[in-house]
């Protein structure tokens, strides 16, 4: 094995989850991946690209990547230095030495072995100790996580905390925790490699693992994998369905408090059944469990690529309460780390569960509204309108009806429509094409959770505090009754049971009244103000001010271009709701002090690779428009392909896809 043939290249990311095309000890390793735990009793199923094999077994010779456990340091495993001739990557086995004492005992340890490999014991309180990794580390074996199953807060701090501590580059190997229900969450928490130890353990007790939970003896017909097909023969046509047992019985003295898969080893399960390793039941459960975990890891990999990992995770965690709690803890405690690695653009977003309200894209929307947003300068009257399933909203029947109902209001372009929606809260109409405003979908029932309505109120009050509107008119009384009582000068025009025509007429007259005596606003002026608003939302105040200073807008909405001094600065991309920069525009943004990627001194050809990046402004995310700076010059404009933190840590991969560069 060539110890130096280790590298990691992230090809797609979604929060802490990612896909990489890596090499480990000379063998290709495409992550997220699952290593089959192979022992004498539990042979590999198929030809797994990764195995974690009992070291006494001969290698299979099919060229896959093989991991082995080193000898425990308590019994002669001195110094985790396996022979370089070994065909396997030997993982040092740690024994906790530095148990600190807190509310819980806390194992914190880090062993850096050969340069590319390290092993760590996670801490329940965070994993700051892992920050001591040598810079060359490409793979980290994270041990003792098994103990933390069933403890959502500590588990998240251990795994996501480890990712936050080791940075975005090294591969994280999370041992002995993955099952079908948790595999996608583990990927979302930052695990690159998991093993299927739980598949073997469950099989040893005759337990079949499914994404919906675990079942002793399995469920005939619930899975069509090869192992299940062979073990549960299909009944001949016309036979009764299989006996599923009597169902839950009332509590009795013989109650068995099985918590398999739900974590917490504390309940001693010495009466867990034991299935003979030579029996068909063991082989079937093993074959099924291995495939079930592998299938979930494959689904997670695909979801990362599609930008839908969060949706997958929100669904899967529902198998066990502690997994849901873990996801909520991640949102609460690791938002900055997750947000930093979440791209600013995705093809779609489904907000389907309570946890969707706190997912990073949604929270980022709220943060940017608060920190970056200011309404178009010429807006004089605020009109709150209900959302629609059709995106962008202005293409919806609701909005056409509002257009017609308020057509006579003058000055027409002084009316600022703001869409009230969940989970985002407020969507000012000029941002309707910005991700995720034009890309989300929710199950619409018309019922608003308290959290959703209070989010709207909060954002509305912040908006009114920032901009002086002469009138605030609402057409969302159906959705948020009583908003007028809580937000001072608001005129409510719609209410349950009130005909739409009447509500629209009321709104039009309220707007007319509020706008009496207002100076006229031209369409050109409004478009310029809308684009400036988009610019502020995209780049933040100072860079947007630098970009728009003295610039003029050309073209017909939404196909607009920004010019200054006969030079194009930027173009509005309606499909993405973003401004794309020219070199001149990038120069202005950089002068404004944001979205700069500073590169080392080399001749620029094509795209910028991560190795060439010196540093990037911290707000840069995958999908952002950036200015490439070399020395004291802006030499290119392009789209970031990774976040600022990744650009600093990564040694491979495109950091910026260059659109324009200095000739």
């Amino acid at each position: 094995m060539d110890a130096h043939d280790f590298w990691v290249e992230t090809v797609a990311r979604d929060g802490l989850g990612r896909r990489t095309a890596s090499r480990v000890g000379g063998a290709p390793c495409h992550t997220p991946a699952v290593a089959q735990v192979v022992t004498r009793e539990a042979p590999a199923v198929g030809h797994p690209p990764l195995v974690l094999a009992d070291s006494s077994l001969a290698p299979s010779g099919d060229g896959g990547l093989r991991f082995e456990w080193g000898v425990s340091p308590l019994f002669g495993g001195d110094g985790p230095a396996p022979g370089d001739a070994s065909a396997a990557v030997v993982l040092p086995r740690l024994v906790p030495k530095a148990y600190g004492v807190g509310p819980l005992t806390d194992a914190t340890e880090l062993v850096a072995c050969r340069p590319p490999l390290a092993a760590g014991l996670p801490s329940r309180g965070g994993s700051a100790h892992l920050e001591g990794l040598p810079d060359a580390t490409e793979i980290v074996s994270l041990q003792n996580l098994t103990e933390l199953r069933g403890r959502p807060r500590e588990f998240v701090r251990a795994l996501a905390g480890a990712r936050a501590a080791v940075g975005p580059r090294p591969l994280l190997f999370a041992h002995a925790v993955a099952d079908p229900a948790s595999a996608s969450l583990l990927v979302y928490l930052g695990a690159d490699i998991v093993d299927d130890f739980q598949a073997v353990l469950a099989a040893s007790a005759g337990i079949f693992l499914y994404s919906f939970g675990h079942v002793q003896g399995g469920v005939a017909g619930a899975c069509m994998c090869q192992a299940c097909e062979e073990f549960f023969p299909a009944p001949p046509p016309g036979t009764a369905p299989p006996d599923m047992g009597p169902g839950p019985s009332p509590p009795g003295p013989e109650d068995d408090d099985s918590d398999f898969g739900e974590g917490r080893g504390a309940a001693s399960r010495r009466d867990l059944p034991a299935v003979d390793p030579d029996s068909p039941a063991f082989r079937a459960a093993l074959g099924h469990n291995r495939r079930a975990i592998a299938a979930e890891v494959a689904a997670a990999a695909r979801a990362v690529q599609e930008g839908t990992l969060r949706e997958l995770v929100e669904g899967r965690v529902r198998a066990y309460p502690w997994l849901v709690a873990a996801l909520r803890n991640l949102d609460r405690e690791f938002y900055p780390a997750v947000e930093a690695l979440t791209p600013v653009w995705k093809a779609r977003l489904h907000a389907l569960s309570h946890e969707s309200l706190s997912r990073p894209e949604v929270r980022r929307w709220g943060d940017r509204l608060r920190e970056r947003y200011a309404p178009p300068a010429c807006a004089r009257a605020l009109l709150l309108v209900p959302c629609s399933a059709r995106k962008p909203y202005s293409m919806s029947r609701t909005q056409y009806a509002i257009d017609r109902g308020t057509a006579g209001v003058r000055p027409r372009f002084a009316v600022h429509r703001v869409v009230v929606t969940s989970p985002l809260g407020l969507v000012p109409i000029e941002l309707e094409r910005v991700f995720p405003a034009a890309h989300y979908d929710i199950p619409v029932t018309g019922d608003w959770a308290h959290e959703e309505s209070s989010r709207v109120e909060e954002q509305l009050l912040a908006l009114l505090g920032r901009h002086r509107y002469q009138a605030v008119v609402s057409l969302v009384g159906d959705d948020l009754p009583g908003l007028g009582k809580r937000v001072a000068p608001l005129v409510e025009c719609a209410a349950k049971g009130k005909p739409n025509e009447a509500a629209l007429a009321d709104a039009a007259s309220a707007l007319r009244e509020g706008l009496a005596g207002a100076t006229d606003v031209t369409p050109r002026q409004r478009v310029a103000d809308d684009l400036a608003s988009i610019g502020r939302f995209q780049f933040g105040g100072p860079p947007a001010a630098a970009l728009f200073g003295g610039a003029s807008v050309r073209g017909r909405w939404p196909w607009n271009k920004l010019h200054a001094g006969g030079e194009q600065l930027a173009q509005h991309v309606p499909a993405r709701g973003r401004l794309s920069l020219t070199l001149a525009g990038a120069r202005r943004v950089a002068e404004g002090g944001g979205y700069r990627v500073r590169i080392e001194d080399f001749k620029l050809k094509g795209d910028i690779f991560a190795v060439g990046v010196e540093r990037a402004d911290p707000e840069v995310r995958a999908g952002d428009e950036v200015a490439v700076v070399q020395g004291d010059r802006v030499v290119a404009a392009g789209t970031a392909r990774m976040s600022a933190g990744e650009m600093a840590a990564a040694r491979r991969g495109v950091a910026v896809a260059v659109r324009h560069r200095e000739r």
């Binding site: 019994f75 005992t105 996580l145 399960r269 010495r270 059944p273």
Partner: protein, 341 residues
């Protein structure tokens, strides 16, 4: 020694509340004397406790919760033993004096008290067992106690033959070699030697614990008259208890105790007696099996402890034995000493 901080940090404030002239407890138990079953009386004294515990302590030891803050006067110790001896079970031939510390350390038990207790034992018993760390086994301490009409047996907490286990998981503060030297000195001055082995120290998997204990029994045999396998019993106020509550530790299976004896007996060459009397057996805090077979397995362990016949474990079976075997097989594939399911 980073584990020391954790050991110290898990201690509780509980101490003995009994008056200085009252012993903590006494009971009788089965023992073996000259190859025959005998009755032993155990007396736990209300003592100052282990001097090593005051500055450090072991990860599994919670005996300090039954000790006094100040050393009782020699007369108080003697009074305790007199009261206990007055309550001696019928036919008791062996007296075991436990001080939750080192009987030979005069900072814990004064020389006068040591001598008086030996003389009290000599009046009624054939053998007196006391416990000590090896550093207190010196000629001036041991010689005066030998030859006073009662056979003296000194028990050492060897725990493991592996210095790394002693250092990194037990926090024992001494080495296997120091224990061996102490035992050899005790024998040279006419005392018998008993070595305690700790079965399943923290951070060891079931399989590692099994191997470690077999190796330790073989290590102890040449310098021990008796080797006692003590499967972990979780004491209050210990690091092991905290690990247990965290789901990071579980006491060993009774199958492991049986397996240690089955495998160690033929390797010990009959030079010393191997025995085990698991405390807290078949409870959550002690060695146990599924509950259905615990009594049977314990009975075999007890019988083999007397007759040294390893074949007593043959044919012993239960549905949970398969679970135990799986745990041994799988332990090496998961990087944790936590119980597996």
């Amino acid at each position: 020694m980073p584990i020391q901080k954790a050991v110290v940090g898990t201690k509780v404030k509980v101490r003995s509340t009994k008056p200085v002239d009252e012993f903590i407890a006494t009971w009788s138990e089965d023992d073996v004397l000259d190859g025959r079953p005998a009755v032993a009386q155990v007396v736990v004294l209300n003592s100052l406790g282990c001097i090593y515990e005051k500055s450090a302590g072991c990860s599994m030891c919670g005996y300090y919760t039954e000790t006094l803050a100040k050393r009782p006067a020699p007369e108080a110790y003697v009074r305790q033993v007199e009261k206990a001896v007055a309550a001696a079970p019928e036919g008791a031939q062996v007296l075991k004096i436990y001080t939750s510390g080192n009987f030979l350390d005069e900072r814990e038990v004064q020389r006068d008290a040591q001598l008086a207790i030996v003389d009290l034992a000599a009046a009624r018993y054939k053998r007196l067992l006391v416990e000590s760390r090896p550093e207190f086994v010196t000629e001036d301490r041991v010689r005066p106690l030998v030859g006073r009409g009662v056979e003296l047996e000194i028990a050492f907490g060897l725990e493991s033959a592996s210095d790394r286990v002693l250092d990194e998981t037990v926090n024992k503060g001494n080495t296997a070699g120091e224990n061996r030297e102490g035992a050899l000195r005790a024998r040279a001055w006419g005392a018998r030697v008993k070595s305690y082995l700790l079965l399943k120290p923290p951070f060891l998997t079931e399989a590692e614990a099994l191997e470690d204990c077999v190796a330790s029994a073989v290590f102890a045999a040449p310098f021990s008259d008796t080797v006692s396998v003590n499967p972990m019993n979780i004491h209050k106020g210990t690091l092991v208890e905290r690990l247990f509550f965290d789901g990071a530790y579980r006491p060993p299976w009774l199958w492991t105790v049986a397996e240690v004896m089955r495998r160690a007996l033929p390797q010990m060459g009959g030079r010393s007696r191997l025995m085990s009397a698991p405390t807290g057996a078949s409870t959550r805090r002690g060695a146990s099996n599924c509950g259905r077979c615990d009594a049977r397995v314990l009975q075999a362990i007890r019988a083999a402890s007397v007759d040294q016949d390893g074949s007593r474990f043959e044919g012993l079976d239960c549905s949970c034995r398969g679970r135990w075997r799986w745990e041994l097989r799988l332990a090496s594939m998961a990087p944790t000493a936590a119980p597996l399911a």
